[in-house]
């Protein structure tokens, strides 16, 4: 049982504000979230990052020209307990003293149907990530019936081997 193996966000959900129309659209950070789910003994454990920045140029009418870049402050992780948040900042995990920020930079965005987009990009954690690609699925959906225009919901799924990504994480605490 290696409960910590999947600490790095396997899923990141990003809610992007969509104001409609074909113009470039930004992100409403306060209405958006980067969340993830890890597994501990078969139980899912929810988490999120409290502080992150986004530079998104979302063009629903021309997805190929859309771009999405995120900077996630890893020390701002929100987990089940403060003790586990402190743990993830240690050198064996994120090593936030040396690598405070994880980045995601899109390399290609394409539409995969109504309100759905696939975003490929590079996720860099602990300085490694070059040459690795992430695929994202973006949905411009309705999260609340009262909203006239749905926000954009995006999920980033890790496609690469976690082990390589995290570097020294295998040496988790005994």
């Amino acid at each position: 049982m290696k409960p910590f193996r999947s600490f790095v966000p396997p899923l990141a959900a990003m809610l992007l504000a969509a104001s409609g129309g074909a113009a470039a659209q930004g992100v409403l950070i306060d209405k958006s979230e980067i969340r993830f789910v890890s597994k501990q003994m078969g139980a899912s454990v929810e988490g999120r990052f409290r502080r992150w920045k986004a530079n998104v140029d979302f063009r629903p009418g021309d997805p190929a020209k859309s771009k999405a870049n995120f900077e996630i402050e890893l020390a701002s992780i929100d987990l089940a307990s403060e003790a586990s948040e402190v743990e993830t900042r240690r050198a064996v995990w994120f090593d936030t003293a040396k690598f405070p920020v994880a980045t995601f930079a899109s390399t290609a965005v394409r539409s995969t149907g109504a309100d759905r987009y696939e975003v490929a990009g590079t996720l860099t954690i602990k300085g490694c990530g070059e040459g690795h690609r992430r695929t994202c699925r973006a949905t411009q959906g309705r999260l609340g019936k009262r909203r006239r225009r749905g926000p954009v919901h995006a999920e980033a799924t890790r496609v690469q081997n976690r082990r390589r990504r995290l570097g020294g994480h295998r040496r988790h605490r005994q």
């Binding site: 049982m1 290696k2 003994m41 078969g42 139980a43 454990v45």
Partner: protein
């Protein structure tokens, strides 16, 4: 159990099933309570996560046993015990009611607390329990206190319950405790009325 009845009058003994479930609940509550107190100070590690999981499994089991005991109780009425003062009879009913209530409510409070911290409960590592509430740090802090307070209320009640039983056994020298102890037949003969 039916074959036992002619030998053991129903007003003397609890059924063997009731006795077994009672002492199983006692063991699990003591273990679960102790683990709960201990685990909160452990450092974050895979081992700690496992211990938290065991604590949750024990809680769910206590809940299920409480349900089973209530169902059994409906089908097999509690043996009456004559000769108790009215206040003792009332105190006993009230404390038994509260004990059952806490055995049901405490696991639910723990489940709620776990849900509020964003951690799913998977009973025995197999049965996925639904998350009762969304992850919410403020709510989690409240539920943590609730779970803690309810447990210490249970501890107080258990001490009263066990203290009363011991008093009946050693001071009053009646059969209040004996009816919940195993190995009834021998004791029963002497007390046959």
């Amino acid at each position: 159990m039916a074959s036992v009845r002619p030998i053991i009058p129903t007003d003397v003994a609890y059924t063997r099933t009731a006795i077994a479930l009672h002492w199983l609940a006692v063991a699990l509550i003591v273990i679960g309570f102790t683990i709960g107190l201990w685990m909160v100070d452990l450092p974050i590690a895979p081992q700690t996560i496992r211990i938290y999981a065991y604590h949750k499994w024990i809680g769910v089991t206590v809940f299920l046993i409480a349900l089973a005991r209530l169902a059994w109780r409906l089908a097999h009425p509690v043996p009456s015990f004559t000769g108790l003062p009215e206040w003792q009879r009332r105190a006993s009913s009230a404390s038994h009611f509260l004990l059952y209530l806490l055995m049901l409510v405490i696991p639910i409070s723990g489940w709620l607390y776990s849900s509020a911290t964003g951690v799913q409960v998977v009973y025995l590592g197999v049965i996925v329990l639904p998350k009762l509430v969304a992850k919410n740090d403020a709510l989690a802090a409240v539920l943590r206190s609730v779970h803690y307070t309810l447990n210490f209320t249970l501890l107080a009640l258990v001490l009263v319950h066990a203290g009363a039983a011991l008093r009946h056994h050693y001071v009053e020298r009646d059969r209040v405790l004996s009816r919940m102890l195993p190995a009834m037949p021998a004791r029963n003969e002497e007390s046959a009325r």
